[in-house]
Symmetry: C2
Subunit: 397 residues, 2 copies
Amino acid sequence: MADPDRMRTVADHVARCRRRGDDVTLVVSAMGKETDELLHLAAQVSAVPSGREMDMLITAGERKAIALICMALEELGVPARSFTGSQAGFLTDTNHRNAKILEVNPDRVSESLDSGIVPVVAGSQGVSTERDVTFLGRGGSDTTAVALAKALNAQMCELYTDVSGVFSADPRVAPSARKMSEISFDELLEMTATGCPKPAMRSVEVAHNHQVPLHVRSAFTWEPGTLVVQAIESESSVEQPIIRAVTHDMSESKVTVVDVPDKPGVSASLFRSLADRGIDVDMIVQNASEEGRTNISFTVPTEHLERAEEAMRSGVITELGARTIGINPKIGRVSVIGAAMKSNPGVAATMFETLANNGINIDMISTSAIRISCVVAADRAEEAVQYLHTAFGLDDR
Amino acid sequence: MADPDRMRTVADHVARCRRRGDDVTLVVSAMGKETDELLHLAAQVSAVPSGREMDMLITAGERKAIALICMALEELGVPARSFTGSQAGFLTDTNHRNAKILEVNPDRVSESLDSGIVPVVAGSQGVSTERDVTFLGRGGSDTTAVALAKALNAQMCELYTDVSGVFSADPRVAPSARKMSEISFDELLEMTATGCPKPAMRSVEVAHNHQVPLHVRSAFTWEPGTLVVQAIESESSVEQPIIRAVTHDMSESKVTVVDVPDKPGVSASLFRSLADRGIDVDMIVQNASEEGRTNISFTVPTEHLERAEEAMRSGVITELGARTIGINPKIGRVSVIGAAMKSNPGVAATMFETLANNGINIDMISTSAIRISCVVAADRAEEAVQYLHTAFGLDDR
């Protein structure tokens, strides 16, 4: 929702959907830079604003957007009614700035729908179990949309984004990346967990767990995008691995706790101290103890790096008896995602070779049943995506 | 297929299914210890038998079983016809002892079905692109069944095992483990990739990629088992993590390549040398470079440990400039599997704390979007499963 023009375009699209006979509920995020501006305002009046007040402030952004969209709809003769997260029945936990949805009771939204009035719901917000306004944080609007689609038992949840669908790699990085007409939930989940920016991983988790059909599509071209399905009918031979996509993530930093005693409880206190601060830890790698000491590395969103470092320095390091911690924000994580990789060891070998042949060093490795990730130097990550996209034959399909 | 009695029981079950109006195709593995006995025979006549002859020998086991089952069926008045892997149309690659299925052309099986004659197909075998008999290796019979179900467009693939379904943990280890009535494909895939012994991971990969509905059930009690579905309707609150199962795997060993130069190509030559020897590498962990050197750890099936060690010692270590390699066969891998773990950092913290509180040290860690795995000492692994099963509330559900 960048500006009034965009709002009119969206309203026009909604009017068309209605004319085709679809019942539509809108979930709207804040306008363009609105949230950033609000954050900036807060920073000017308070060094450490309380979570409760921050959420009260930030959610004003969506509040403006829903009202404006309703006005634009009414202008087109489409009856519409705005709902805050609370009004739409979003009950969350009390974790301000990053609240999680506990329940959705969309009675008022349903009533509006039943009366032929388009409900326009504020994304990324709710009311906590302590009756405070909460903000869902990053990816909140997509998650609101999916959870609402589930609660309303909607036929489809369409996520409109600035990209035209899910791609086999980021098209800005790999120009030969293809838009996929379909992707499976578990593959998309690994993709969004490893850097595919849209849709938000949280929303994919909720959609997957609650079986909400997704359509990821462009809010600009209105062309069909990518359908997220339970499974994709494989065309390749029975037991061959099927590489679907290459993702990369430049938003993380690496923290290494160096030379820590290899004894029970080390990882526990480390990760509890991070979890308590609400820091999402991503890749966790603990390796090879030698002479009773080990290194533990993990990646965190760079925006949480300071908090993570603080968590480490405030006791954890001395408590654990670690020698020091190492911080490396200049990393990129490159991942290959696809089916049947686990029983085909050649996939990992091909990935490592492709990087090696191009002189790209691997810093960390981690694998799952449908993914292999390598951490490499930040300034080589985009190249790595291109080489891997080519090596796994994704260019020319 | 332990003995003639079991064969009669199976034949009886098939007869019942037919009376209920179901078209049935049987996939049969070798009798009880048959395969082991054939391997033992081979060892007595040759130190290093060729792969081609080994496959010729081993596949004789299923050949006997299909013929005997057909006889038992005919005895009950059920017309039946046996098919080898080749006759059933299983085309594989040329990788003897561990061949992968390329295509299934089940014309003869279909004809038999259409004529009302029960096809009885030898599991775990096929014919290679070079027209040699091939053995599919571990998990081959389950994989044959799934691939055949797909090729025949069957309504359901029932995998009869010695357990009554898929459990939230190994019931021998965690007595409070529950049989799940349903499990999703991606969760079962991670479970079988981390130690859940039945069904074979390969077969789950194929079923997942080709959308073959599975029913994992007991060949002894005939009670309903676990249905493998695309997704499970979640009952918990919208964004809470749902821990589904705790798995453990005692079949792997850890190899650490110690103090290797941290430069491009190291992982590549390491894992290519393993892939070339057909060694399935499981967990791969590379950590934290210090002063330009790093350690790389990975796990391999203990039965491949010797080959892996050989691969390392035959050049790789000197080539790479590693100081030495460390081998630890006394490990167990314990994993927690479930949905929405990635956006809930508390799950990892709880896992680590549970282990720590019970004095169990963590040796390696690896994570995916729906799994966290810890390598621990072999003699603490089973306890770890119990503690985690309890900690994640799986006991009392």
